[in-house]
């Protein structure tokens, strides 16, 4: 069936199978490979995108469910060539190593900061508890998100 999804401000209209996953739509149809796949069970959060502003795991959303919606992926975080504060803070505070979980972590972080620009350590940890990182031990991710909040406020 035909769907139209606005991804990072650009409209993507495609004919898709009803079973097509949103993550495959984003990666294969829209060609935005910054969104990653790390598991098959909605456990790891590598595929996290913002669907109408809210974090979702795009491996657990059908592409047809996103028809008419706005999706933001990591490629849409920077605006006008300016890094989002979360992106800059991840680099500054060594919040990433292999980089595979990073897009999902940054999107969740940015969504958290939208509603809570000064989150506590616990609030950040709870917010990102649906996202797995195997490299960093999370400490620097938490620091980076908090620092980005400080930047924005």
């Amino acid at each position: 069936m035909q769907i139209t999804v606005n991804i990072n401000g650009a409209s993507e209209t495609r004919d898709v199978e009803p079973r097509r996953l949103l993550v495959d739509f984003i990666r294969s149809d829209a060609g935005l490979t910054g969104t990653h796949i790390g598991c098959d069970t909605s456990s790891c959060g590598a595929c996290t995108v913002l669907l109408d502003g809210r974090p979702v795991k795009s491996c657990t959303v059908l592409a047809v469910q996103a028809d008419g919606s706005e999706v933001k992926t990591v490629e849409g975080l920077a605006e006008g060539g300016e890094l989002h504060p979360v992106q800059a803070a991840f680099k500054e505070h060594h919040g990433l190593q292999c980089g595979f979980c990073t897009p999902g972590m940054m999107l969740v972080g940015s969504a958290l900061l939208e509603g809570n620009p000064d989150p506590t350590d616990e609030e950040v940890r709870w917010a990102i508890s649906g996202n797995i990182c195997r490299c960093t031990g999370y400490m620097n991710i938490v620091t980076a998100i908090q620092a980005a909040g400080g930047e924005g406020s």
Binding site: T33, D40, C44, C98, S129, I132, C135
Partner: protein
């Protein structure tokens, strides 16, 4: 010697000691990494693998006709088809054989049976359910004890194999050890199982094989920690000419040992591309990753310490039974059948040890990879650190004091261990003292005494100590090879006319930050800013041969190669500088980035020298400024540290939480302190994971429990403790820049600290051991005298 390295270069140059921000991050934070699954080639086909649903069965027949009817399916490949090309079996990194696609039997649940090649990944996966395999089930052997007791032969296809023993091995000296035990005032023993685990990098394994049917050129993009060795293995397995094989590893989403071996999927995808003439992509699902590739650990360990009347250790015995799964495929040096497990005498000074090891085949996935570990050093460290802790409790000494009494002393290095390692350097008392001070050890002991003294207390404090010694940086060629390939590593450095540089490495990052750290080594040696140095790796056509990144060997071996090649170039630069300054070479002083004529202000920069190498080189000297080094390390390096954890155990429900943790690491000179701390924090979390939740087990039929992230628990930010990190610096005396390697220390050292902390809380209740993961029901069972189910 304990020193802290003060940077001698400016922050702009960014040499050793500067926490410069990572160069590679610019693409990762923009979602512009190049991971394997991001690669799409024109006309590319997709492969899906049919896996055995049972652990042990004879294959009577495979009918793929219905799958072939599906539109979009181009081929179904079975073991029989591969056998026609001599590809049904392949060698493992331990010199055993492993089925690529099963022909006679399946030997573990999840084993590769057939593949579908289709135009779309969804179609390839759809078609799997249309392949009909007739299995005749056999007894599933799910433990090494069962394996050694049964008459059922797992590897019945192997000529000369009459039992289920995969290997036997020993180290140390039995006679002197027996004598020491006979004379001992006390013997302390421990039986423990280091459970099966899986590295589970967030990116699974995969391959895009692109074999050009006209030229025969095979370009294989894959998730490999060891691309050069893989190229050679492919040449040997597939009989392809090695110059026509190019392995390309792009960005890798974590490895931790999982991406060292050659997996059947890589081989079949390459064969399929060769057969069909189009690129073929295979990307593992998470379940495939967890059930079929790269398990780690699974050591059943018994060990004893002999003590004299003064509580000094006089000898150690250790006996290991390892569960190897269906194929013996440990990625480890050829000479060492149980890896470097014989480092199990740890940080302690005693004259005698004897270690025996036996591996058994079982109906489980193969692997035996060094999961964030230098070839079984993790199991070794866990064993000795659990054992000394129990010994301290048995002789009623403080565990920190017992360790300090028995540590190898600073003036004993280099130290020959009873199993034959020559520890290069160490200051174990220094790390212990620092860790105790940072955590406020005596204060915690006082609080513990007070809180635990209350007979009605339901929250007990436990303090766990672990003082690990690692052995990393494999390794000297006289002892270390994999499949005959000596474990040197390489660096090629080219300085361009404008003074910018390109550094090509034989090692392979999976997130450790090589693009930054290795540029910093060049910056230190030549004074060229790290930001002017491009670091390349992971393309076998365009980088020098090396054995890759695992076992914390990048900095000890590849980092040494980088320093040495930089110094070679500096020697030539000095000749060029002498020519430019019209001075004698020996009259020049060097500081990073500049030669100066002694006693004058006449100088040339390294950039000016580089330009001259291409525009104004003296008669009789070759043009250019470049070099390559293959570094054969004279010894291993021996990082160490002391970790102290304070936990609170709830005796009501058996849960425990970390109240405070301090990790003091000594990895020698730290090139980029920020990156080093990042490696340690990540490693501590993987150690916590294994102590607290993360394991893979099987039911009696050989079904894998832990085949996805809902059953195989890895810690999220919510469960993960916070850590305080500290350091001491004892440079490696034989490494060109004094570095030792750090990627794995925390995963090696920390599991015992967590378990020791729980046992420390419960010792007075009669609990002397709980195997990892230290799950609540196990804690509760131990406290209440109830045999806990797994």
């Amino acid at each position: 010697m304990t020193t802290v390295h003060e940077p001698r270069t400016s922050p702009e140059v960014g040499g050793i000691g500067h926490s410069v921000r990572r160069k590679e991050d610019d693409r990762f934070i923009r979602g512009a990494g190049n991971y394997l699954d991001d690669l799409n080639l024109p006309g590319m086909l997709h492969m899906a693998i049919l896996r055995s649903p049972v652990a042990h069965a004879r294959i009577n027949s495979i009918d793929s006709s219905a799958a072939m009817e599906i539109e979009g399916v181009l081929a179904v490949i079975t073991g029989e088809a591969l056998a026609a090309h001599g590809l049904a079996w392949m060698p493992t990194l331990s010199g055993d054989t492993q089925a690529v696609l099963a022909t006679d039997k399946v030997r573990f649940q999840g084993q590769e049976v057939a593949v579908v090649i289709a135009t779309h990944p969804y179609i390839a996966h759809d078609a799997l359910s249309h392949i009909d395999v007739d299995y005749e089930e056999l007894e599933a052997i799910t433990s090494p004890q069962q394996s050694l007791a049964t008459s059922t032969l797992i590897r019945d296809e192997k000529e000369g194999q009459t039992d289920n023993v995969a290997y036997t091995w020993e180290a140390g000296d039995q006679d002197s050890t027996d004598a020491a035990f006979a004379a001992a005032a006390r013997v302390v023993s421990l039986d423990t199982h280091y459970p099966r685990s899986h590295p589970a990098p967030l990116e699974t394994c995969g391959v895009v094989a692109d074999v050009n049917s006209i030229t025969g050129q095979a370009t294989i993009y894959m998730t490999s920690q060891a691309p050069h060795a893989i190229r050679t293995v492919f040449a040997l397995v597939a009989g392809l000419p090695e110059e026509k094989i190019r392995i390309v590893t792009q960005d890798i989403g974590g490895g931790f040992g999982n991406k060292v071996p050659v997996y059947p999927g890589y081989v079949v995808a390459t064969a399929a591309s060769l057969l069909i003439g189009k690129p073929v992509k295979w990307i593992e699902s998470r379940t495939e990753n967890l059930i079929s590739t790269g398990f780690a650990r699974d050591f059943h360990m018994h060990a004893e310490l002999a003590l004299d009347g003064d509580n000094r250790i006089t000898a150690m015995r250790a006996g290991i039974l390892s569960d190897q799964g269906a194929f013996f495929s440990d990625a480890q040096p050829t000479q060492f059948r149980a890896g470097l497990f014989h480092i199990c005498t740890g940080s302690y000074d005693f004259p005698s040890a004897h270690v025996t090891a036996k591996g058994a085949y079982t109906n489980k996935a193969p692997g035996g990879v060094a999961y964030r570990c230098s070839f079984r050093v993790t199991e070794a460290s866990y064993l000795i650190e659990r054992l000394v802790d129990n010994a301290a409790h048995e002789v009623e000494m403080d565990p920190a004091d017992f360790r300090a009494l028995n540590f190898i002393k600073e003036d004993q290095f280099p130290y020959l261990s009873p199993t034959g390692f020559v520890y290069d350097s160490g200051n174990y008392h220094g790390a212990m003292d620092k860790a105790k001070e940072m955590i406020g050890y005596d204060g915690w002991r006082a609080r513990q005494a007070e809180q635990n003294a209350d007979p009605d207390a339901t929250k007990l404090i436990g303090i766990g100590v672990a003082s690990f010694t690692e052995v990393v940086g494999a390794g000297p060629s006289r002892q270390y090879d994999i499949l005959g390939l000596k474990m040197f590593d390489s660096a090629e450095l080219r300085i361009h006319p404008t003074g910018k540089a390109i550094l090509k490495l034989g090692v392979q990052t999976q997130g450790q930050g090589h693009e930054t750290t290795f540029a910093q080594i060049v910056a230190e040696e030549l004074g060229i800013p790290y930001s002017d140095i491009k670091v390349m790796y992971g393309d076998t056509d365009n980088t020098p041969y090396g054995l890759g990144t695992y076992a914390s060997r990048s900095t000890p071996v590849g980092g040494a190669a980088t320093a040495v090649v930089s110094r070679k170039i500096r020697a030539k630069a000095q000749k060029l500088a002498a020519h430019l300054l019209e001075a004698a070479e020996e009259d020049l002083d060097w500081e990073p980035g500049k030669f100066t004529v002694k006693g004058t202000d006449q100088s040339v920069t390294i950039q000016e020298v580089a330009f001259a190498a291409y525009t104004n080189h003296p008669v009789g000297m070759e043009a250019g400024l470049e070099g390559v080094t293959y570094y054969d390390p004279p010894n291993m390096t021996y990082p160490f540290g002391t970790y102290i954890v304070v936990v609170e155990v709830d005796t009501g429900d058996g849960t425990w939480k970390v109240l405070e943790m301090v990790a003091v690491d000594d990895c020698g000179v730290r090139i980029n302190p920020m990156i080093v701390d990042g490696q340690i924090a990540g490693g501590l979390t993987e150690g916590f994971a294994k102590a607290n939740m993360q394991w893979i087990t099987f039911d009696d039929d050989g079904n894998c429990i832990g085949s996805n992230f809902m059953d195989y628990l890895v810690p999220t930010a919510w469960e993960t403790p916070r850590y305080q990190l500290g350091e001491t610096v004892t440079p490696s005396p034989h490494h060109p820049i004094g570095a030792k390697g750090v990627g794995e220390s925390a995963t090696v050292g920390s599991p015992a600290a967590f378990t020791n902390a729980v046992i420390d809380a419960l010792w007075s209740k009669g609990v002397s051991n709980i195997d990892m993961p230290v799950l609540p029901h196990r804690v509760w069972g131990a406290l209440n005298g109830v045999e806990a189910s797994p």
